[in-house]
C-alpha cells in the first residue's frame, strides 16, 4: 500500500468519510434535517468530482486487487447518482414518519461505497467483501421503517435469503479459487484459459460455477432466484425500494462483469447456455406475473425482474460473441436507473403522507389531479415500456440488437425479448390508464413535494428524456466503459 493506491481509490475513501461526516453532523446537531442533507449531498458531489478527475485514466492498485478503468468510472458515477437521488426522494418521506435521515443517509452511503468497490474489484475476495458491504446495509434499509410490520418482514426475508445466497456464492468462489490458485481476476482468467485449452473442465469447477452463478443470479433477482424481490420491494419504505431496484441490481451486474466476463471469460461457452435460460425465464416470468399485480410497488418489483432478464440478454449476447452486448448492459443500467427511480419517486410523492397505499387505485385521476406528476409518471412508464424515443427504448434496442448480431440461439432470445417487451405494455399502461382514465378517488390529497424532491424528479425526468433524444453521449460513455474488448 502506498499513497498512489490511496489516490486510486480516493472516491471510495471520500465516500466513507462522507458517511462518517453525516453521523458526526447528526451528533453535533441532533434531529436537524438540513445539515445532514447538505453534508450528504455535498459530500456525494465531492465524490463525483473525485471520480470525474479519474475519468480516462487507468491503472490498478493494491497489487491488482482494484482496477481503475472506464468501467469503474462509469459505474461509480451511476452509483453516486443513485445515492444522491435516493436521498433527495427519501427526505420528504422519512420526515413525516419520524424516521431519522442521518442514519438513513449514512447507511445508504455505506452501501453505495460497497457498490463502488464492487465496480472496481479485480480480486475475488475483495469482490465478495465489497458485495457484502453493498448488500448488508441494503437489508437494514429495507427494514428502516422499523415499526412497520411490512418493512421488517421484507427486511428479514431479504436478509435471510441474501445471506443464504451469499453462502452459496462464497462456496462457489472457494472452489474456483482452489482450482485456479489465485484470487486475482486476471490470474483466474489465465488459469481458466489453460484449463479450456487443455480440454474439458473438471466436475469440481463446474460445481463451483453452479454455486457462483446461483449466488450472482440471486443478487440480480434472476428467475428462479428472484423470490426475495417482490416482498422486499413491497415492504421497504418506498425510497428504499427505489434504491434497491437500481443500486444492488446494477451492482449485481457489475459483479457479473468483473466475475463472469473478467474472471470466467474463458469459460463463456460454458455459462452461455445457463445465461440464456436464465434470461428467458426471467423476462417471461417477471412480465407474466407483473400483469396480475394490483399494487404498483409490487408490479414495479416484478417488472424489475423482467428488466433483469433484458439485461441478461446483453450478457448472453456478449458470451455469444458480440462485444457490444456489454456496452448495452451499461447503457441499460444507466437508462434503467433514471426511469425506474423516477417511477418509484412518483410513488413516493403520493405516499408522502403516511397511510397512503401504493395500490393502483391511488393513481386514479392523477393526470388531472396533478398534471406534472402524472405527466412524469407517464413518461417513466412509457420509457419502461420501451416506447421510443425515450431512454428505455434505446436500452432495449441495444441489448436486442446485440443479441441479433450474435446470432444463433440468441436470435430466438432476442425475439422472446421483443415479445416480452410488447407484453410489458399491458401493466405499465394500466397505470397510465388509471392516471388518465379514472376518476380521482375521494381521499387522495395533492402531494406537493418539496423543492429537493422536485429537483430529484426533474433530474430523473430529464434524464429519461435526454437519454432517449440524445442517447449518443451515454452510449459513447458505455462503449468506452466496455473495457473487455479483445
Amino acid at each position: 500500500m502506498n499513497w498512489s493506491d490511496i489516490g486510486t481509490i480516493s472516491p471510495v475513501v471520500i465516500a466513507v468519510l462522507v458517511a462518517a461526516a453525516v453521523l458526526v453532523v447528526d451528533m453535533v446537531a441532533p434531529g436537524r434535517r438540513d445539515p445532514v442533507i447538505v453534508t450528504a449531498l455535498g459530500g456525494l458531489g465531492i465524490v463525483a468530482v473525485a471520480i470525474l478527475i479519474q475519468a480516462g485514466r487507468s491503472g490498478s492498485a493494491f497489487g491488482g486487487a482494484y482496477s481503475l478503468d472506464n468501467l469503474t468510472v462509469f459505474l461509480d458515477m451511476l452509483f453516486v447518482a443513485i445515492a444522491a437521488l435516493t436521498i433527495m426522494f427519501a427526505a420528504d418521506y422519512l420526515e413525516p414518519r419520524g424516521l431519522p435521515i442521518a442514519e438513513f443517509a449514512a447507511v445508504l452511503i455505506f452501501a453505495v461505497t460497497g457498490a463502488m468497490l464492487v465496480a472496481g474489484s479485480t480480486d475475488l475476495l475483495l469482490l465478495f467483501v465489497a458485495l457484502e458491504l453493498m448488500v448488508l446495509p441494503g437489508y437494514m434499509l429495507a427494514g428502516f421503517a422499523r415499526h412497520d410490520p411490512y418493512s421488517t418482514e421484507g427486511a428479514i426475508k431479504y436478509f435471510l435469503l441474501g445471506s443464504f445466497s451469499s453462502a452459496i456464492l462464497l462456496f462457489g468462489l472457494a472452489y474456483v479459487w482452489g482450482i485456479t490458485g489465485t484470487t486475482r481476476v486476471d490470474g483466474v482468467a489465465a488459469a481458466l484459459a489453460t484449463v479450456v485449452a487443455t480440454g474439458k473442465i473438471a466436475p469440481g469447477l463446474a460445481m463451483g460455477l453452479a454455486f457462483m452463478t446461483t449466488g450472482v443470479a440471486f443478487k440480480m433477482a434472476a428467475v428462479p432466484f428472484h423470490y426475495w424481490t417482490p416482498d422486499a420491494y413491497q415492504g421497504s419504505p418506498t425510497p428504499v425500494t427505489a434504491y434497491l431496484s437500481v443500486g444492488p441490481k446494477v451492482g449485481a451486474f457489475a459483479i457479473a462483469l468483473r466475475l463472469f466476463v473478467g474472471a470466467l471469460g474463458p469459460l463463456k461457452a460454458d455459462w452461455l447456455p445457463v445465461v440464456i435460460v436464465l434470461a428467458a425465464l426471467t423476462m417471461t416470468l417477471g412480465n407474466l406475473v407483473a400483469i396480475t399485480q394490483d399494487n404498483v410497488k409490487r408490479m414495479l418489483a416484478y417488472s424489475s425482474i423482467a428488466h433483469t432478464g433484458y439485461i441478461l440478454v446483453g450478457l448472453a449476447a456478449y458470451a455469444g460473441g458480440e462485444q457490444s452486448g456489454l456496452s448495452a448492459i451499461l447503457f441499460y443500467g444507466a437508462a434503467y436507473t433514471f426511469m425506474n427511480m423516477g417511477a418509484f419517486a412518483v410513488v413516493t410523492a403520493l405516499q408522502r403522507r403516511p397511510g397512503v397505499s401504493s395500490q393502483i387505485a391511488t393513481f386514479a385521476g392523477l393526470g388531472r389531479r396533478d398534471p406534472w406528476l402524472g405527466a412524469l409518471m407517464a413518461l417513466f412508464l412509457l420509457s419502461l415500456t420501451g416506447i421510443p424515443p425515450l431512454a428505455g427504448f434505446w436500452a432495449k434496442a441495444y441489448v436486442i440488437l446485440a443479441a441479433i448480431q450474435a446470432g444463433g440461439w440468441l436470435t430466438v432470445l432476442a425475439v422472446l425479448a421483443m415479445i416480452n417487451a410488447a407484453a410489458a405494455a399491458f401493466y405499465y399502461l394500466r397505470v397510465v390508464v388509471y392516471m388518465y382514465m379514472r376518476e380521482p378517488t375521494g381521499d387522495a390529497a395533492p402531494s406537493s413535494p418539496g423543492a429537493l424532491f422536485r429537483t430529484g424528479l426533474a433530474i430523473t425526468g430529464v434524464g429519461t428524456l435526454i437519454f432517449g433524444l440524445f442517447p449518443a453521449l451515454v452510449a459513447a460513455a458505455a462503449d468506452a466503459a466496455n473495457v473487455f474488448h479483445g
Partner: protein, 182 residues
C-alpha cells in the same frame, strides 16, 4: 521420545484417527443443531460443532485460524444463544413446532446437494500434494497487510456499517408507530 505416526500394531495413522473423531463430532453436532427442538440446545450444539471445526483447522496446520474460530465464534454464539432465550421465552411463541411442513423436501434437497458436492469432488483430480502444510502466523499477518489490505479495510468499514445500522434497528425507543399500508 517421538511418538510414531501411526498406532502401533493396528497401523492406522494417529492423525487419521483424530480426523475421524473430529469429523464425526463436527457432523454429529451439526446434525444436532438442525434437529434439536430446544433452541438453547441447538446453540450449544453449534458451539460444539464450531469447536470441532477449530480442531480440524489445527489438524490442517492452521493454528491461527483455529484460535480465531474459538475466540470469535464462542463470543458470537453466546450472543446468539442469549438472544434466542430472550426471543423465545415470550408466551406468544412457544417452541411448539421446530420444523417447517416442507422439512422432508428440504431433507431431500439437502441430500441432493451433498451428493452433488461429494460426487463432483471425488470425480475431480485435484492439483494437490498428499501432505498437509503448516502455516506460520507471521506469514499470514504479512500477507494480510500487503496483498489483502484493501479487503481487510473494507471489512472494517463493513463492521462499522453493520454496527451503525444494527444499533438503529435494534434500539428500543418510543417512536410513533406508523402503519403503512403498502
Amino acid at each position: 521420545m517421538p511418538i510414531s505416526d501411526s498406532i502401533p500394531l493396528v497401523g492406522i495413522r494417529w492423525d487419521d484417527v483424530l480426523f475421524v473423531v473430529l469429523a464425526a463430532a463436527l457432523l454429529g453436532s451439526a446434525l444436532l443443531v438442525v434437529t434439536l427442538r430446544d433452541i438453547i440446545r441447538c446453540g450449544l450444539a453449534l458451539t460444539a460443532s464450531l469447536a470441532s471445526l477449530a480442531g480440524i483447522y489445527a489438524l490442517l496446520g492452521n493454528p491461527l485460524v483455529a484460535a480465531t474460530q474459538v475466540l470469535v465464534y464462542i463470543g458470537a454464539i453466546s450472543v446468539l444463544i442469549l438472544f434466542a432465550i430472550m426471543v423465545t421465552q415470550t408466551k406468544n411463541a412457544p417452541v411448539r413446532l421446530a420444523f417447517q411442513t416442507q422439512a422432508w423436501i428440504a431433507a431431500v434437497a439437502a441430500v441432493a446437494i451433498a451428493i452433488v458436492i461429494s460426487i463432483t469432488v471425488l470425480a475431480t483430480t485435484w492439483p494437490a500434494g498428499g501432505q498437509r502444510l503448516w502455516t506460520a502466523t507471521t506469514e499470514v499477518a504479512h500477507l494480510l497487510f500487503s496483498d489483502y489490505v484493501l479487503p481487510f479495510e473494507v471489512v472494517s468499514v463493513l463492521l462499522t456499517a453493520a454496527v451503525v445500522g444494527g444499533v438503529y434497528l435494534a434500539r428500543r425507543e418510543s417512536g410513533p408507530r406508523e402503519e403503512d399500508r403498502s
